[in-house]
């Protein structure tokens, strides 16, 4: 089936996508019980992670620590609070189902660009989850005793940069997930690719252990990968581990990857649209 090319993104049509964002944002806010359960889970998870690191910090003869224990705690709490923004496995199952069962045809009939729509939709879903979950975790973490809790940000500019990179990091994550959504057009059984991609993202983005804990040479390499531009940058800026010239470079790399991933996603999208076969009937 051939479809006419979707309209270009025009300033006035941006309103459509912000509308999609608002719609999915408010939809996501409805799941409060799920959020409460999620918060409890993440709280225990964060606590265990910190206790694990504490064991390493407490052991004598463990010489060089790449981050202070306080910074590590802050990193872990921030990671748990904003988990929904960065965890690649939190993908929108509806998008996969609609590609597989053919309902995507309805979406294609609309006078909108499907890439932009899904992009804003994914951003919204992640934001609403994070908004629901972050506050209680941040609050409790802020009141925990000194090295275990979350400290105030180093300075106002650092905090603003944290927010900025948080958003770009989210955008990079979503742009990467878009590639996986797009792959479903070609494979129709996205489960496998999805799982492989997830574990790769987890490892290289610093979700398993923070990137500074890797040996220096590997770490330098990991920071240049697109995965290093996800949660690694904002979390480390907040904990004060990343600053100065290194921070500037990291932000630059973030924007670069955002552009590359979006371009790649749009290209795959165009390719998929040209040869799409609709499933189901």
């Amino acid at each position: 089936m051939h479809l006419t090319k979707s309209p270009k993104l025009h300033p006035s049509s941006l309103r459509k996508y912000t509308a999609f964002f608002r719609l999915h944002f408010t939809m996501g806010l409805q799941y409060r019980t799920a959020a409460a359960a999620g918060i409890a889970t993440q709280f225990v998870w964060g606590a265990m992670e910190i206790l694990m690191f504490r064991a390493f910090y407490q052991t004598p003869d463990n010489g060089s620590f790449p981050m202070t224990f306080q910074a590590t705690s802050a990193y872990v709490w921030m990671q748990q609070a904003f988990l929904a923004l960065f965890m690649a496995w939190m993908m929108d199952n509806e998008i996969f189902t609609c590609i597989i069962d053919g309902n995507v045809s309805y979406e294609l009939c609309r006078p909108i660009d499907i890439y932009n729509m899904w992009f804003s939709r994914s951003m919204a879903g992640r934001c609403s989850k994070a908004v629901l979950r972050c506050m209680p975790i941040l609050l409790v973490a802020a009141f925990l005793p000194k090295p275990y809790g979350l400290m105030a940000p180093a300075s106002v500019p650092a905090f603003l940069l944290f927010l900025l990179t948080l958003i770009t990091g989210l955008a990079v994550t979503v742009a990467f997930c878009m590639l996986i959504y797009m792959s479903a057009f070609f494979t129709l059984s996205p489960e496998g690719i999805r799982m492989v991609a997830m574990s790769v993202v987890e490892f290289f983005s610093g979700a398993v252990i923070p990137l500074p804990f890797f040996p220096d040479r590997l770490r330098g390499f990991f920071e240049l990968l697109p995965f290093g531009s996800m949660q690694n940058v904002p979390l480390r800026i907040y904990s004060g581990d990343l600053s100065g010239a290194a921070m500037g470079r990291a932000i630059l790399v973030q924007f670069l990857w955002l552009i590359i991933l979006v371009a790649l996603g749009k290209f795959l999208n165009a390719l998929a649209m040209r040869k799409i076969t609709l499933q189901g009937g």
Partner: protein, 257 residues
């Protein structure tokens, strides 16, 4: 047992209809638990020991825990989707059949992609055992076997426990992941490194420490000899889980159509 085998074959055949996806999902499962190993590996690239445990000892602990979990998972993970059975009212069908309910629930769904994790567990187990500097004697081998039995019992008990809770909540609570996937994830290190409080909880509330930390000290010649028998005591954990299941079955009111 014959019935379980039959369920097993049916499920396997249905999954084999989608081969590529199956293989990729297996790889995915493998990689996800491989990440845990990598995290241990890279932490020890930087640090030499944690709370008196060396890299080799941690690997042994990780290998055994992962093996325990995978064994339990291959038996009892069917309980994971039990809430779906309840909500759709499919449990009614199970109740009217003249067979054991638990067996039927387990047979209703099997995840063969877990074979990826199982493979990982076997590799880690063999690797962990071979690099550990333990001099293997008969009691120690017996301890490892006890650990595997006890561990499978405890993790299966947890799966059963959470399925039973679904009778009352109708909803699978995300918080339970802490006790299954969380326990697997953090079981890579002996429970004691997380501090005294955690160790107490893991000894008296949910007996993770009985299948992991205590017998491990026995293997490493640091604990008392009877620590090696504790995994068998952990099997008792199945009793309250089973009681709750029975209670749930009795209170079950169908909610499907």
């Amino acid at each position: 047992m014959r019935l379980y085998w039959k369920y097993f074959l049916i499920q396997l055949k249905s999954k084999m209809e989608y081969k590529t996806s199956f293989v990729l999902t297996c790889i995915g499962q493998f990689l996800i638990s491989f990440n845990v190993f990598l995290s241990v590996y890279f932490m020890f690239q930087r640090f030499s020991s944690v709370q008196g445990f060396t890299y080799q000892e941690i690997l042994l602990c990780f290998g055994i825990t992962l093996m325990e979990f995978s064994l339990a998972e291959s038996v009892a993970r069917g309980f994971d989707l039990f809430s779906v059975l309840i909500r759709k009212g499919e449990f009614d069908r199970i109740m009217v059949r003249p067979r054991n309910e638990i067996l039927q629930v387990l047979g209703s769904r099997m995840e063969f992609t877990r074979i990826g994790r199982m493979l990982q567990a076997v590799v880690m187990f063999i690797y962990g055992v071979s690099v550990s500097h333990v001099t293997w004697t008969f009691p120690k081998v017996l301890t490892v076997i006890f650990m595997l039995i006890g561990g499978t019992a405890v993790f299966s008990g947890i799966f059963l426990l959470f399925a039973s809770v679904c009778f009352f909540t109708l909803e699978r609570l995300e918080i339970f992941n802490i006790f299954t996937d969380g326990a697997r994830e953090y079981g890579k290190y002996p429970v004691c490194i997380y501090g005294k409080r955690v160790l107490q909880i893991c000894t008296f509330v949910i007996p993770y420490a009985l299948i992991q930390y205590y017998p491990l000290t026995c293997l490493l010649d640091r604990g008392k000899w009877w620590y090696g028998l504790l995994p068998l005591a952990a099997c008792l954990f199945l009793l309250p889980c089973f009681a709750l299941w029975k209670c749930g079955v009795r209170h079950y009111t169908s909610c499907g159509s």
